[in-house]
Symmetry: C2
Subunit: 285 residues, 2 copies
Amino acid sequence: MIETNLLAQFVAFAKAGTLTRAAQDLHTSQPALTRSMKKLEEELEVPLFVRHKNHLELTQTGRYAVYYAQRVLQENQDFCDRIRSYDRSLHTLSIGYCAPVPQMVLTPLLNGIFQGMTLSADMKDDVSFPEGLRRQTYQLAVMHARPDGDEFFVKKCGSEKLYLSVRASDPLAFYPEVRLQDLDGRAILLFSHIGFWMKMTREKTPHARYLLQVQRDAFHELTEHSDYPCFSSSYFLGQGQKIPGRINISLADPECQTDYYLVCLKSEQKRYEKLFQQIDDRTIY
Amino acid sequence: MIETNLLAQFVAFAKAGTLTRAAQDLHTSQPALTRSMKKLEEELEVPLFVRHKNHLELTQTGRYAVYYAQRVLQENQDFCDRIRSYDRSLHTLSIGYCAPVPQMVLTPLLNGIFQGMTLSADMKDDVSFPEGLRRQTYQLAVMHARPDGDEFFVKKCGSEKLYLSVRASDPLAFYPEVRLQDLDGRAILLFSHIGFWMKMTREKTPHARYLLQVQRDAFHELTEHSDYPCFSSSYFLGQGQKIPGRINISLADPECQTDYYLVCLKSEQKRYEKLFQQIDDRTIY
DNA sequence: TAACATTACGTTAGCCGTAACGATA
DNA sequence: TATCGTTACGGCTAACGTAATGTTA
């Protein structure tokens, strides 16, 4: 068995060509390398160098050894990466959310049940979630449709309905309900991290100009102090979070009403038992 | 990068179950292991152990790490073996001999040309020699027939003729020449390391009882002080090595007269140029 | 009480860097 | 003369083993 240290120095020499330059690369002294290379030869009991008076050269065996030394080092590095990554995976729960409200509702629950774990949330359209669950990129996912596939355990965890939020002075303010197409062509305030809602509203209002807000603060600022229409939802309204000076109009499109489903792999179902127990089909509303 | 040392200790602990027993296995002290395992965790920045008051246990990550640590160690060990074996192969010349006389004749030549090299000789029937040369099990071979195949470089290096050596009192002593079948059914002294001759003589005299001698001394002792017939050859007779009190009768079978061919791979021909220059088709006689 | 892990402590082997040396182009 | 490798030397770290401590079955 050869110490990793010696192998790394050996490879460094092979790459640098001289001990002096290898020493610079490794931030060590050059006599240290001389000694290490001697030790390496001693431990292998194989001559790896031809020592000219003024120059160190690899023997045929030495050149042969370089490749395999690199393999050993690579294996060592892979080991480190692998262990670290495995350990991290044990302590992080990656969850795919198709919309922000499920994240807001579930995060406190998850923090309670999986204490000490890091929660890693991914917010986007849920088409890639089944594949992500299969590859263990996600341990859990909240989708707005039941995924196909025998390998998934699914439980409905709530629903959400979208509302239009406008000033009383807005032309649409007089209607008891509106459709998304009524907004087409207008400028609309939109918070950017809203998962599948983004895709859906864009498709329904191809001519609208969306004023995307990445920062939550900026979004709230604008909803309160501008006249642009924006969206609200049953969740916020249920919590009494109405925006002052605005009224909320029901959106009649069927796409503006969705159910949410919490999904995991059946093989992992046991691990999330408590979570599934703590939710019912009206957890998110 | 983790030092090989630490990985070996880690695996030893995993196998032994306790630090104390691992320390015994590794012929080191137990506090040394405690410290090493701490260091391993520190360098990986991953907890590998759950420390009970009185007992050290692997975490899930720890158990996961054992397998991969073993792989790294295996790769390291393979590296050592590989380099040593490669270096040895560079300094040893493996030669297949189909008969002992070629070895006796060529060995001094080889020692002169390939000074510092280890000569490794294999004496046996030459059917496996072409395959051995291809696989580089042999670098050179002396055969009693030209091998098939474009990949070989072949040069005739001599011939040898077998004689029967008997006492003057032997019933066969009066014949000017004999055949092997004349010996069938009798007891015959035979030195055991004689390559293809063994197979040939056995086939021609299926009912003979061969008194096999592994030791050369014992063989000579018996040839000089017993009445059993034995074989001699043109080589020994040409050197004046007659056995006192015996006469040598020509063996008339065509199989008792053979040519020898020195063979190497064409791809290696350059390396053995000097050797081929120094032999001619009567080198062995 | 026996087995085990950790901590404390004094010792030392081994590694490091500086400096000196020898050789080369 | 500048570059390179080896050797010598002194200093110091880091690893070791013994012994003591604390815990458990």
